[in-house]
Symmetry: C2
Subunit: 372 residues, 2 copies
Amino acid sequence: MANPRKPKDRFHAVIPAGGVGSRLWPLSRASAPKFLHDLTGSGQTLLQDTWDRIKPLATASRTMIVTGEAHEQAVMTQIPELDPKNLVIEASPKDSTVAIALAAAILAKREPDVIIGAFAADHVITDSKAFQDAVNQAIELAAHDRIVVIGITPTEPSVGFGYIKSGDPIKMAGAPSALEVEKFVEKPKFERAKKYVESGKYLWNAGMFIAPAALLLRQLAKSEPELHAAILELAAAWDTDKKDATIAKLWPGLKKVAIDYSIAEPAAEAGLVGLIPGKFSWHDVGDFAAIAELQSQGRKNNLAVLGAARVLSDDSSGILVSETNRMIAIIGLEDVIIVDTPDALLVTNKANAQKVKALVDSLKATGHDEIL
Amino acid sequence: MANPRKPKDRFHAVIPAGGVGSRLWPLSRASAPKFLHDLTGSGQTLLQDTWDRIKPLATASRTMIVTGEAHEQAVMTQIPELDPKNLVIEASPKDSTVAIALAAAILAKREPDVIIGAFAADHVITDSKAFQDAVNQAIELAAHDRIVVIGITPTEPSVGFGYIKSGDPIKMAGAPSALEVEKFVEKPKFERAKKYVESGKYLWNAGMFIAPAALLLRQLAKSEPELHAAILELAAAWDTDKKDATIAKLWPGLKKVAIDYSIAEPAAEAGLVGLIPGKFSWHDVGDFAAIAELQSQGRKNNLAVLGAARVLSDDSSGILVSETNRMIAIIGLEDVIIVDTPDALLVTNKANAQKVKALVDSLKATGHDEIL
């Protein structure tokens, strides 16, 4: 029997705000991860930008944020509109399945026919209208009992993202762009990524899932029954005085698994997944090279500056991120990356931007936690 | 009539400690120029290294330092052995003729047959024995009424130094290496510098002059009679209670001229200059590339570190100079130059090291004196 409520009225957004962003050290720290920073020069943090992009779709009162204990205060300060009951604090990081499925279970307990949409807190989308159009189509499609993923048309053969292979058009009123999903594929090697892009069939998986909460949870029950049971028990206790005790009992044992493995891939095999191609520009700003690219918008010989530094540079290109007010002089460097914070300085270049993660790992291994 | 005193007993060293060292910004500042820094990792400043190198030649009580008002305190702190009457404070910078000729005139007033030797406070000499041997020969030669210059055998066709063209051997007991000087030549272009070096006849002019003070002053009287008169008047008042009044009267009008033009070149034309080739390694550490070269001693893939920074660098080369105790991470950069001070940061590379001066000039032009 069709649900009498309009799909749009059933929608509730979820913003998982987790992940340290090691490749953005020393800007992004365990205590102040990527989503709490302004990486675009917009004057707002990525989390605030995400909130503003989603609010017109879901309303402020129907948007939930899932984050870690360490960021509770920062999130509440940055998003004063957030309803406290829509702030889900994770006792420790448990990967994307727990973050999204727990939010789905809590919301489904409050409102059984809810359609949730999960959107990372630390991505950059520059065309909000096209984004909202895609999400609106995804909601319509989800209302027909689909787990819907928004795929991004690749602009290059990236090896940093998973891909979604699209199938035939679904042809549904309210979701004219909707396609079947043949399968999800993991991050490819470059040659394979090139073939994917040339085929025109593959889109980037940006981790945006829209689905009825009940359907998501049914799928989880099939693939991860123990995790599903624990999440339902947590959700049942969440809005009660048993919350803390239940967290204490169950949280440490929750399995860490990415939602792609636990839900998206098995659901795709079962023919339950639909795809809306996103016709907007999307960036996951995974490293400083990506930020530099985003800032320079392809212009050569351009030094992008984020922050309040006084900068002297005649002919350098790349990016300077400053959290100090020092005078910074940069002479004759190409594609340089300089990140100047009160207690740590990073100097590298675009070609080496990905190596920042290994450096952070080595800092961790050598016990320099105070700087991470 | 030959002077009955041994030449060595007549010797008095003079260390002109001036010059900001713009190419070493932001380490070297107007308030803390090059000579007040440890640029070699020796644990001492260049001034202290110079003092220690000269003391065995002249003794501590016969070494004079000429510097600016702003550095009086720092010099006295760094060189506690310095006899206060051997500290000459310049009211304002007046180039090398005033610095050296005034010292000569003050010392000649105290001790008419004094032989002075002038040695810059900010050069690096790694073989003190060979240096001292050259100076000892220069003193013997100077005692035969010569203005003696110590020339450096070039290691490359540098365009950053003036050159001295050597002539025939002088053949004198006590100065076996002594050569006549044909002429001084200004900083050449690269092709000419190459010919100079290939000829084996040309040495670098490192600005080290040894001469009887009276001879120096006679030469100055010929080429710059007004400046000579003013300097004699200053020297006559120096150790008296008329010192301040005489400085106030004469200092502003003193002509700025390099000693090469006022004394060395005309004296060479008059056949009064002798040359001792210096068989020691000498560096004027004019820019950060020179410091990096000095530190790495030609080793590739080596990042030299001066200062107390905690540094993470797997594969970078170049130099890091740190006056902070921040964590500094450098990834994948070749010949990089990073100078990290509390209020300013410089990032460039060896190829652009010379451009630091232009940058400092532009800071000056735009009124950023607080950072110079």
